[in-house]
């Protein structure tokens, strides 16, 4: 696996990032990605990824209504990954930013609330 500096942060990340959007509670009732795979299906894929040296994972609060974050947190914990050795990215806005103004979408209270929930999901599940 090749590693590169993440912008000007000094962090080393694998050039391949594992997108955790594939994982979450399946089914329409759990979000807009009914094809999402649950924990048991995610486990071997995640193991393969970390065996290959991938240290960068990307999820979001909207991926299957937060269950992707939960699975990500659970996998990180179950494989005993060192939090200093991996990078987990998540996202806290629930809609794209096509035309509406920044100010209406990014109010402080909604941002902080989403962050708090996001953080709780990926660290305690």
């Amino acid at each position: 696996m090749q590693y590169i500096k993440f912008g000007n942060t000094g962090m080393d990340v694998s050039r391949i990032c594992l997108g955790m959007m594939s994982f979450g509670k399946p089914g329409k009732e759990n979000g807009v990605f009914p094809w999402a795979r649950d924990y048991d299906d995610a486990k071997p894929l995640f193991k393969k990824a970390i065996d290959l040296g991938i240290n960068y994972f990307d999820t979001a609060n909207v991926y299957q209504m937060g269950s992707s974050e939960e699975i990500t947190g659970r996998l990180v914990r179950d494989f005993g990954l060192d939090r200093d050795e991996i990078v987990v990215a998540t996202k806290v806005n629930c809609a794209s930013t096509w035309t509406t103004s920044i100010s209406t979408r990014y109010t402080a209270s909604t941002q902080t609330r989403r962050w708090r929930r996001s953080w709780r999901r990926s660290t305690t599940s």
Binding site: I4, F6, G7, W35, D58, K91, T97, S109, T112, W115
Partner: protein, 185 residues
């Protein structure tokens, strides 16, 4: 931006990044953060793949200038660039999001994907691998990009190409031409 700054200060996140955003929005938000001494975005996550290259105009050069990390989403356009056009998969049979994202440009995208399929076949590679090769040689990847290469490439567009005529598609060609100029300089 202050709310995001608070998240970093409280230790819940180490860095913040922006995703799917216009160049003017990113620049404005960075300025607001800078003016107030708040945490700035260190990365951008734009859509970037062979059927969506709009970001090459404004925001990728901006990120390069600001030394921001760029992490493309849907690097294979949700699978559209990974298999021949119209291939049915278990996922796309029930996926309602992909048609929302790419449906409106189907007619244009088909041309690109068809060409990618031909290029992949000619080189005996999977489409995904051919896509990655074209992409990894893009001037928007690490190193090599300077604005003047764009101008040279525009002038020489179609004049020289490493692709055979049968595979010529304008969007793929621009990439190939920019690429050859970068390699030369």
């Amino acid at each position: 931006m202050e709310a995001l700054h608070d998240v970093v200060k409280s230790g819940k996140a180490r860095y913040i990044g922006a995703s799917t955003i216009f160049a003017w929005q990113l620049e404005r938000m960075q300025q607001i953060a800078e003016r107030n001494g708040w945490t700035k975005f260190v990365s951008l996550q734009p859509q970037y793949n062979l059927i969506y290259r709009e970001e090459e105009r404004e925001i990728l050069p901006l990120c390069r200038d600001r030394k921001m990390a760029v992490v493309p989403w849907s690097p294979l356009a949700g699978g559209r660039c990974a298999h021949p056009w119209g291939t049915k998969t278990a996922r796309n049979a029930i996926d309602e999001v992909s048609p929302m994202v790419w449906g409106v440009t189907d007619a244009l995208d088909k041309v690109v994907v068809d060409n990618l399929e031909k290029i992949a076949a000619a080189h005996g590679r999977t489409m995904a691998r051919s896509h990655r090769r074209l992409d990894s040689r893009s001037p928007h990847r690490r190193g090599g990009f300077r604005a003047r290469h764009h101008a040279i490439a525009r002038r020489n567009r179609c004049a020289r190409s490493s692709l055979r005529p049968a595979h010529q598609d304008r969007r793929v060609l621009i990439l190939a031409n920019v690429r050859s100029q970068v390699r030369r300089c």
